[in-house]
Each structure stands twice: as structure tokens, then as C-alpha cells.
Amino acid sequence: MDILTNLLLGLKVAGEPYNLMVAAAGLILGVIVGVLPGLGGANGCAILIPVTFVMPPVAAVILLSSLYWGSLYGGCICSILFNIPGEPWAVATTFDGYPMAKKGQAGRALSAAFFAHFCGAVVGTIALTFFAPVLAAFALRFGPPEVFGVMLLTFSAFVGLVGKSPIKTLVATAFGFILAAVGIDIVSGELRLTFGLTPLMGGFNFIVAVIGLFGIGEILLTVEEGLKFEGVKVRMRWSDITSTFKDMGRYWKILVLGSFVGVWMGFKPGGATPASFMAYGFAKEGMSAEDKAQFGQGHIAGIFAPEAAAHGAGTSAMIPMITLGIPGSPTAAVILGGLMIWGLQPGPMLFVDKPDFVWGLIASTWYGNIIGLFMVLAFAPAFAAVLRVPFAILMPLLIFICAIGAYAVNNRMIDIWYMMMFGVIGWAFKKLDYNMAPMLLALVLGDMAESAMRQSLIMSQGSLLIFLQPPITLPLVIAAAIIGSWPWVSPLWGRMRGQGKPGAK
């Protein structure tokens, strides 16, 4: 089979000693950034991008994706031992993970979380391996209108499905696109939105925005809340792992369900957080009454479900990234940005032009998640020790590292100032429910979305009807319209039905 030959090629590429070493380094760094609150996978990848300039693209993407897997594994250490969710999708894990840790079952909780991650990873990677090439082959037929349709669907999914305030998500998205437009217009070569200011001519780099919004902003939020890192001490015993196997045998349905929910939701942008909550909810609903009462007190299935979903979602977020050039998560967006910097054109043509790159990435996902599992099982206490570094020492170091990352992208001093500015924006936006993931995505995809729109309009000589063209664009645009208007339509719908039924409130 074609896919299997390609996978073998990828396994050979990713299995080269240098690439395996890079993967291990990425995993270690990933677990560390995953453990640290304020530094997640997106930020870690953004800071590492300058380092990848000296690597071949395959090694570079393996480094970043391994860091991503590592950060997914690392996130649960923080939420279980310290009750601090490092990422929004780790919130559901704290419900049962932290109570278990407090009861002295930290090792068992962690081991359960790691194996749940692995299950999610396996299902996600299978989807990536077998579904991505099919989707890419289909997407090869996409022209500018179809690409624009996919973009529209992506952003309307953010507005309609993610976040507390749809209208603020819309505003944040629009400003993401506006920030992307600052600088030289790629089509006409004119200077836009620079207002005669020289520093604005280079535009805003999304890596700087990531480091500011997710790095500095998170650090400011952390100190404002005055978080105390009072972690539970952990020792991993062999019995913890064997008891996890027993639990996995008992709750295998929850693991599988969680993984599938994750993969399905993660495919859509911003899906990881709802996926973890959904999986948690499903797991709880499927339980007997006495088990249900245990939920929130430290039930092992309450760890299995959200963690499997989170990792599955994280993995499947790579599918639209590698096939359509549309990342499903902020970290995937940074990796996509890396692709552009390394001189690769994201999109389905990658499968044709750069099979070693694509399949190296897919194969390294297999290796990375397997190595990652053993790594966190063996060294979880060591990674948790990172959080025992006093905050007054850790925090200035993090800011220093962020500054290095922000400067190195373009060697511009102004970028470090922009990083601080984005830090304040991130701090204020997070508190006011402005969703930053679509803003970031808009900043990354701005040029692509705009040129898709303009090229389509050139093709149709200005007629908007080109966006309503069957067979592909029309369904995409209709789906986008339905999903994007959902927050406004669904209450109306509810009210209409409520009026229809007499006596209903």
C-alpha cells in the first residue's frame, strides 16, 4: 500500500540517529515548558524557531513537533501535582487528578494520565497517518476560492464554538488579520497601515505575538493571581504502573471514547478544550451512581477521559495543518509558521513535493509519543522539580528567554518591545474573554487568506458568486455561515420553540 511504503520511508528518516536525538531533546524541553505555567507548547516552539534555522527542515519539524508532544505530556504533571492547569484543556484533569494526588495517590494519577495520553496519541497518530494523505490528495484540487472557504470555516468555528464571548472572538480575529496586513502589501507592493512610521514597515511577526500573548501575558496573569506552587511530592512506583494497567482494562471504553472525541474535536480549530470537557462529561455520564459520586473526589476515569481527549486533539490538530495549511491549535500554528520560515509552502503540495518531510514528521509522531511515554514515566518527579525552583528566580529567567526568542526571529530590537506590548494585550484580553487563539491564527494565515480572497475575486472579475460555487466552496461557506451564526441563532431557535409549546418557560 502506498501509505505504508511512505510510512516506512518516514520511519527511516525519523529514525536516523540525529533526528532521534533531536526528537529526544524536543521532548525534554517540551515536558519542561509543559510543566511550567506560562510557557506552553506554542511558546516553547516560538522560542525555539530561531534555533531551527541551522537545521535541515525535517530535523527542524521533528524538534518542534516533539516539543509539542512533550508539552502535552508535561501539562498533566502541573495540573495533577500542583492543581494548576498549565493549559486550558488541562482544567478537566485537575477535578480528579489533584484530589487523587492529595490522597497520596499522585503516582497512580500521573501514571494513569500518561497512559491516557498515550492512548490519545495512538488514535490521533493513526488518524494522522491514514487520513492526512487522503485529505491532502483531495485538497490538491483546491483553488483560491476553496482555500478561502476553508479559512472562513476555520474562523467561524472559533466564533461559533469556542470561547465565552463570540463577539469578542470576532473582534480579536479581525484585529489578527489587521495586524497581519501591516507592512508591505504582497500583491501591490504598497505600504499599508504604517502611518509613515518606520518600525511598522516590517510588520508584526506572529512569533513575537505568540511569545508576548502566551508568554509574557501568562506570566503577568500568574503573578496577579498570586499563585502559590504548593505541589504534592511524588514518587513513581512500579505498582503505580501495574495498577494503571488494571484500571485501563476496566475503563478501556472511556479511554477509547476519550481518544476518539479528542481526535474528532481536535481536527477543528480550538477543539482541545471542549474535547477534554466533553470526554470528562461522557465518562461521568456512563458511570454507575456510586462511581458518579466519586467523580471530583479523585476517580481514575476522570483522569483517563480528559487526558486521552487532550492528547488526541493535540495530535489531530496536525492533520489540517499538514494537509490544508490550517493549524488546529496554537502550537500547530507556530509549527506552520516555522514551515513558512524554512521556505516550505504549506498545503497539500507538501505530500507531493516533500514526501520525506511530511512522512518524517508523521513517523516522528509515532517515535516521539512512544519515547515521550517512557520518558515521563521514568522522570516525572524530576520534571516536577522544575516547579520547585523559586518563582523569583524562575520568572526573570523566563522573561530573559522570551526576549531571546522574540529578538532572534528577525534580529530586530523593536520586536522585544512588541513582545512586551503583546504581553500587556494578552494580559488584558485574557481577563476580558477576548480569545487569543484565533487572533494568532489570523496573524499567521493573514497573507494566505487575503491572497486567496483577492485571487478568487480576480478569477471571477469581482463577482462574489465565486464563493457560492459548487461542489466544494458552497458547502464550506454554508457550513461556515451556520457555525459562525450559531451563538445568535440557537437562542432565537430556543425562544421560538419555547413559544410554540404552551406552558414552557
Binding site: 473582534v171 479581525a174 503577568l220 523569583a392 522573561i399 532572534a408 530590537m413 504581553g423 481577563k431
Partner: protein, 160 residues
């Protein structure tokens, strides 16, 4: 400041930026040019969405239907001081970077922060603030050949 006031203030600031964007897009031309939509076409669409959105955000905040709880203070009591103790020294480091380069600025920043805010002993301060920037210096400048800002005098201070 209450969260409601901050919500409105941020929306007004965004509204202002939206207007700036719309104004510049109109200057560039947002209609149909010689070869397709002009440079201002896409920005003005986005500005229109942003402006309309900001108006709704302000209205929601006024009516109290916003998703954020308006009555609470925007920064909880005692929250502003730690934020500023992080933010101001960090800005100080960036400012110093302009003068003495990132590595030297980082040494001063780390030492000052760990000593003054953290209140650690000089031994701890020096063990963190001197070697760590030097390690980064070696990794980035020597190993990966990625230059960091040297500022006005950085090249003289770290000449090796």
C-alpha cells in the same frame, strides 16, 4: 477600575484603532483597481467587522450582558503591585539592552530582581545571574551563530 469600565475602555481603544485602519484603507483605495481588489480592500472589510464588533461589545458591557462580570475590580485587590514588579523591571531590562546588549542587561536584571524582589543571598544571586546568561551567550552566539542585540556598548563588554 471595575471590569465593566475596563471592558468599555478596551473596546473604545480598539474602536480607535479600527477607525485608523479604516482611514488608511480608504487612503489606499478599497475598491476595484487595475488588477483586482486594491490594497485597502481586505483591511477595510476587517476594520468594518472590528468596528461593528466593538460597538456590540460596548453595548453588552453597558447593559451588563457581557460574559465578564462587570462589577468586580479589573485587577483584584493587591494584584496590581506584583504585576508591576514584574513588568517594570522587565521593561528596564529591554531598555538596558538598547545600551549594553541583551546578555549584560540580563545579568543586571536577574541579579537585581533576585536580590531585591526575591531577597536571596548574594551567593544565590551571583550563581544564577552570571553563569546563565553566559551559557546562553555561548549557545546562541558561538554554537548556533545567532546574534543577540549588542546595544551601544555590548560588543566592548563581551568581546570574546
Amino acid at each position: 477600575m471595575t471590569t465593566k469600565a475596563a471592558d468599555i475602555l478596551v473596546a473604545i481603544i480598539l474602536l480607535g484603532f479600527g477607525l485608523l485602519v479604516a482611514w488608511d484603507s480608504l487612503r489606499l483605495g478599497s475598491g476595484w483597481g487595475m488588477e483586482g481588489p486594491k490594497a485597502g480592500f481586505f483591511p477595510i472589510v476587517m476594520a468594518a467587522i472590528a468596528l461593528a464588533g466593538c460597538v456590540v461589545v460596548i453595548r453588552q458591557a453597558m447593559k451588563g450582558t457581557s460574559s465578564v462580570k462587570g462589577g468586580k475590580p479589573f485587577v483584584p485587590a493587591g494584584g496590581m503591585k506584583p504585576v508591576l514588579t514584574v513588568f517594570i523591571p522587565a521593561c528596564g531590562m529591554v531598555l538596558l539592552t538598547e545600551v549594553v546588549g541583551l546578555y549584560v542587561a540580563a545579568m543586571i536584571y536577574l541579579a537585581a530582581y533576585i536580590k531585591i524582589v526575591g531577597g536571596y543571598r548574594w551567593r544565590t544571586v551571583l550563581l544564577v545571574s552570571i553563569p546563565i546568561p553566559l551559557i546562553f551567550y555561548w549557545v546562541f552566539e558561538k554554537l548556533f551563530l545567532i546574534p543577540m542585540p549588542a546595544g551601544m556598548f555590548g560588543a566592548q563588554i563581551l568581546p570574546f
